[in-house]
Symmetry: C2
Subunit: 381 residues, 2 copies
């Protein structure tokens, strides 16, 4: 496989409600990423968008973004994996460059969740025959995971609250983050009960956003930028839909498998990971991911948060720019935001959130409640 | 790029209404293609399905099919390009093998259009801001193309009727085809006017179906089958959505561009193409594709049909197993059906429809009314 690098990024501030249309929002980050990379053309564009078909009545979004961005004739495809769509687009863009089919490729994600009711469309990520009819939603499944986790491991009621505290703390200086105000364990625990035992501050917000990156062959990357970030490993893994069908519902098998494969491809171990951009759509998901990957023993992930070891100063920083919780989780765009943030960290441009000379990052994106999980490993050397 | 071959195919008969569920239908052709290839595992699965989100309330379909087919943990992603979704899945599967990221990969398409109203969901392939609000649908846009074509080139009223006649003639001995009865120019012209000037027999049917193929690296293909078919070239091209925004609305620019690129990659010319599996969702689309690719001069494509030069015995056979018109057009599955049929032709297993020793085939898939067009070139040597 031909090695692949990221040579440009583009992102807009996440908002509760964007005035720009889906096409303009998406095209604006495509152009921004191309400008950042210093390129005026690309060979292909892979787009992620989960809810446009329901909320904007729009399919064939990849061709629409290519058109709106003024890229006539280029290859453009729509790639999905429910809430992991952005990572699926990055994965496909990677395959296009790695194969040699294309040199310059954009991966873009865009989502407008405002102005509609997102929850029923989000629930289509579940099994429509076996889960939706019995009342399951993405929130109810995460609530079930959290309930089981708290009970099984005897976790104190506020055991997961530090995930939100960390996320808000890191969002403070991220100009693209939706929630930049700080929070505390007390505020998290006082927030509204959404779906027992999940409270408002255990959830990432419904919001609008778009982000994009430009990929190029590694051996050409230095002609575009003096600070390329390399995509060292990538893997997608899948799991059963229903928790009852999984051997160990509290162990995200697809997270473990995808991380193992991506780390192996990158030729690094967990000990080499300087920070971990996690899919904290819900606090419990961040916790289970930390355990699945191996940063914590089973049942001990919450302690990494409670003991502040996930903070930027800690042993395994997560959500270093606010995460899904505080930067926001505009579904199809989320993994591209994560990628932009990883690029900022690995190129020393993360501002007041800058980690001390990080070299290797791991990123996870989760489709549904752990059904499709995409891992990417990035490095700056 | 690592050369890629097809080592197995699977398809079920197209039906007006399938009793099997979407997941079972899709999983059955995945297993059938794997059985045909003689493999009991694959590394990845790329799935196409356009309408499941609306008609079955199901997203994340790739993971669902992997689960249902008993393929735990594998990579699975959903790929789309509206009505060209099946070709988009084949394209992505090709990239995965060509890059070296995977060795054995399934591309699968499945669609159940029965039991719901497909037209509004199909219209989401158009521009939701500029086309749908003014009443455009996929049918109305094809009607507009046909109206312009007939007028511009002074085509006799029954000038396009032979496209349907040819398709039904070729479907007769295809056990997977929906419509195996024959038709005539008179019957086509007597059929109901659907949307002026499109008659019922100018349209492919609403139906259910699924098809899949297994890809492998070419240098390993002979360990699985003594008759591999090679994917010699592949390209995706895009065009503006609105006809009014295209320089020449009657010239499908994305068809021309994608064919040129795919032929160049394959190292062949138009003269080398023994047959052309065309996206005859509407007769006018087949006609415009023949012209865009260069099999006919502009305004002359209809003569290829009227003079029976598209028949199996003609100079450029199209829709050799019935095409979208008579085999059926279960959207996400269509390009995989086309691929299965090309494999049958190129391996001498097309039965009574067998062409005399064909070596090279071209396939086109169309997203929307010419917005995303995917070309693939196949060969048996």
């Amino acid at each position: 496989m031909r090695p692949v690098s990221i040579i440009g990024i583009g992102q807009v501030p996440v908002q509760k409600e964007q005035s720009q249309s889906l096409r303009r929002l998406g095209a604006s980050v495509v152009r921004q990423a191309m400008l950042n990379a210093g390129v005026d053309r690309v060979d292909a564009l892979y787009a992620a968008n989960m809810l446009g078909s329901e909320l904007q009545g729009q399919k064939q979004i990849a061709a629409l973004l290519a058109d709106e961005a003024g890229l006539p004739g280029i290859e453009a495809l729509h790639v999905g994996a429910a809430t992991a769509a952005g990572a699926a687009a990055l994965r496909t863009a990677y395959l296009a460059v790695a194969s040699g089919a294309a040199d310059l490729v954009v991966a873009v994600g865009v989502e407008k969740m405002s102005g509609g009711v997102a929850a029923p469309a989000l629930a289509k990520a579940l099994d429509a025959e076996q889960e939706v009819p019995v009342g399951d939603t993405l929130i109810s499944k995460n609530a079930e995971l959290m309930r089981r986790y708290m009970t099984t491991y005897n976790v104190p009621e506020d055991g997961l609250a530090h995930f939100a505290v960390n996320a808000h703390r890191n969002a403070r200086h991220n100009l693209h983050a939706l929630y930049r105000q700080q929070t505390s364990v007390e505020q998290v625990m006082a927030s509204r009960l959404i779906h027992h035992p999940i409270r408002l501050f255990d959830c990432s917000p419904i919001c609008d956003g778009a982000a994009a990156v430009v990929l190029a062959p590694r051996d050409q990357a230095h002609t575009f930028t003096d600070r390329p970030v390399h995509l060292l490993g990538a893997s997608v893994a899948t799991d059963r839909f229903r928790l009852a069908d999984r051997d160990q519902p509290l162990l995200l098998a697809a997270a473990r498998l995808s991380a193992q494969r991506a780390l192996a491809q990158a030729g690094v171990t967990l000990a080499d990971i300087d920070f971990y951009e996690v899919h904290d759509a819900f606090s419990i998901m961040a916790c289970l991911l930390l355990e699945a990957v191996g940063f914590a023993q089973t049942g001990e992930g919450w302690r990494l948060a409670a003991e502040q070891r996930i903070y930027r100063e800690g042993e395994i920083p997560i959500a270093t720019m606010g995460g899904l919780k505080a930067r926001g989780h505009p579904i199809g765009a989320t993994a591209l935001y994560q990628t932009c943030e990883i690029v900022l960290q690995l190129t020393g441009r993360a501002g007041q959130n800058q980690l001390p000379e990080p070299e290797i990052a791991l990123m996870h994106s989760v489709g549904g409640a752990g059904t499709t999980i995409v891992a990417h490993v990035f490095g700056n050397q």
